[in-house]
């Protein structure tokens, strides 16, 4: 089982959508929110995904396709 920590940034029009609930149903991943700050016009959630690496990668791609920014917890690693 792999474990991947991500940070999701929400634009205003995605704040009301239950995206984390959705990926938990669409893919075999366990979602676990650790830290979040969701405001009226923007928001972010730091989330742990546990599951097979391939399922996690599909869940991440799905989140991106739903219109939110998904990055590893470290944010930009390339320096």
């Amino acid at each position: 089982m792999a474990n991947f920590k991500i940070r999701i940034s929400f634009p205003e029009d995605k704040i009301k959508e239950p995206l984390i609930y959705q990926i938990g149903h669409e893919f075999k991943v366990v979602t676990n929110i650790r830290r979040a700050d969701v405001r009226e016009k923007t928001g972010w959630v730091e989330l742990e995904l546990t599951g097979e690496a391939a399922e996690i990668e599909k869940a991440v791609e799905s989140l991106k396709a739903k219109g939110v920014k998904v990055e590893p917890i470290e944010r930009n690693i390339i320096e």
Partner: protein
């Protein structure tokens, strides 16, 4: 240099462990960078009481002529084993540039001549690889398009460690030459920047490597404090009134602020009057924009700038850099690509220092801060120039004029140049 002679003696008890910057939870000093509880970043927790009992101006001044003279405040437990010559770069009194900008006490901290790969990354990597060896890693890695990759590859070669460098698949071959020469394994990942980021995070989670800017990051980042330590020592043990620092991940600025404050806490300088000013490229200025808009959070951006070494759209330490600038009552400003090139040329023309694009951004922002009256003319100012211009020649290739071409005769020489004997 003998490894042991690199520092006078080592304080065994100086590191307590790692501490979460957000919730304060404590961890042992291992290869870990994120708090398991709140996902906040971890930072090295020092035993300052122990350090204070030993550290002194004399102890530092009698130390090696490198950043290891500050070993008491660096997160390694034994003698340094790699990067023994990093740091202690010149602090140049920039009288010519100061005259042009109307600043009477301007200094340039010149990390274009850092050893061995000509950027400030040699500081952080010397610490990171020494620590990675202490932690027992036989392989190190990084994700980088330039300075960091060069430095990790060089230090890994010296340390005889396996080295993996991840780069985006579309990076020009020339960009990676300065890493390939040290014979690391360079992995070009097909996909965009975000894909490379994600893969590196996954790899770091699965493989037992010392990933310098991921699981070794708490130790790696501390190396930047040495820029503050050296500045204070080179100014006669006092902190400057202003510093101007390029902001990429935000770690450098944050650690320079921390470094000055550590010196004060330990009684090595009297006060920290320093206003910390951040410099970003206009085409990648998420932290400067948050500052201008009065936000306490960073909105990620897509970089579009020639200053690629500081083009980080969602900086890991952006929030902390913003906080440091606020705490110190400093400011942020940005430079366009054109201003960046002019900044490079201005520094070269006035002080004989050829900086890479990040240095151009710093000098351009220094100029703006001076012109806007944010830096008074008699204040002591230090601008950090963090990388060598020979690495980003393409940025200025069309901006440096041309040669004067003549025939091989005195007549042609004199007519063309119109110089009086």
């Amino acid at each position: 240099m003998n490894r042991k002679s690199a520092v006078s003696d080592i304080l065994k008890q100086k590191i307590k462990g790692l501490k979460c910057r957000e919730c304060g939870k404590l961890y042992p000093p291992v290869a870990l960078h994120v708090c398991e509880f709140c996902f906040g970043p971890l930072e090295v927790d020092y035993n300052y009481d122990e350090i204070k009992r030993h550290i002194s101006h004399e102890r530092i001044e009698n130390g090696p002529k490198s950043l290891w003279r500050y070993a008491d405040l660096l997160p390694v437990e034994g003698y340094p084993t790699v990067g023994l010559y990093a740091g202690l770069t010149p602090l140049i009194e920039a009288k010519n540039l100061g005259t042009e900008l109307g600043l009477n006490r301007l200094y340039i901290k010149n990390d274009t001549v850092n050893h061995p790969t000509l950027s400030f990354k040699d500081r952080v990597v010397a610490i990171a690889i020494t620590r990675a060896k202490e932690l027992g890693f036989s392989a190190v890695a990084c994700a980088s398009t330039g300075n960091l990759a060069n430095s990790v590859a060089a230090h890994a070669a010296e340390a005889r460690l396996q080295c993996y460098v991840f780069i985006p698949g579309d990076l020009e071959a020339g960009k990676i030459l300065g890493s390939l020469i040290y014979a690391p394994t360079v992995i070009a990942v097909n996909g965009n920047y975000d894909d490379v980021n994600r893969l590196c995070s996954e790899v770091a989670g699965e493989y037992n490597w010392g990933f310098v800017n991921i699981n070794i990051r708490p130790y790696y980042a501390e190396g930047s404090k040495t820029l503050a330590f050296e500045t204070a020592e080179q100014l006669g043990w006092r902190a400057p009134d202003h510093v101007v620092v390029p902001v990429a991940s935000g770690s450098l600025l944050t650690k320079i602020w921390k470094g000055f404050n550590e010196l004060k806490m330990l009684g090595l300088i009297e006060s920290v009057p320093t206003r910390v000013n951040g410099a970003q490229a206009e085409g990648c200025s998420p932290v400067a924009t948050a500052f201008k808009e009065g936000r306490d959070f960073i909105k990620p951006v897509k970089p579009k700038t020639i200053a690629k070494s500081i083009a980080i759209g969602n900086p890991a330490d952006g929030y902390y850099a913003l906080k440091a600038v606020h705490e110190s009552k400093g400011a942020f400003d940005t430079a366009t690509d054109g201003e960046t090139i002019e900044g490079i040329k201005l520094l070269a023309r006035t002080e004989g220092i050829f900086a890479e694009t990040a240095g151009g951004v710093t000098i351009a922002v220094l100029k703006k801060l001076a012109m806007n009256g944010l830096i008074p003319k008699d204040d002591t100012v230090v601008a950090y120039v963090t990388g060598n211009g020979l690495k980003t020649q393409e940025a200025v290739i069309n901006a440096v004029g041309d040669v004067v071409r003549i025939e091989p005769s005195m007549d042609s020489f004199e007519k063309t140049l119109s110089i009086k004997k």
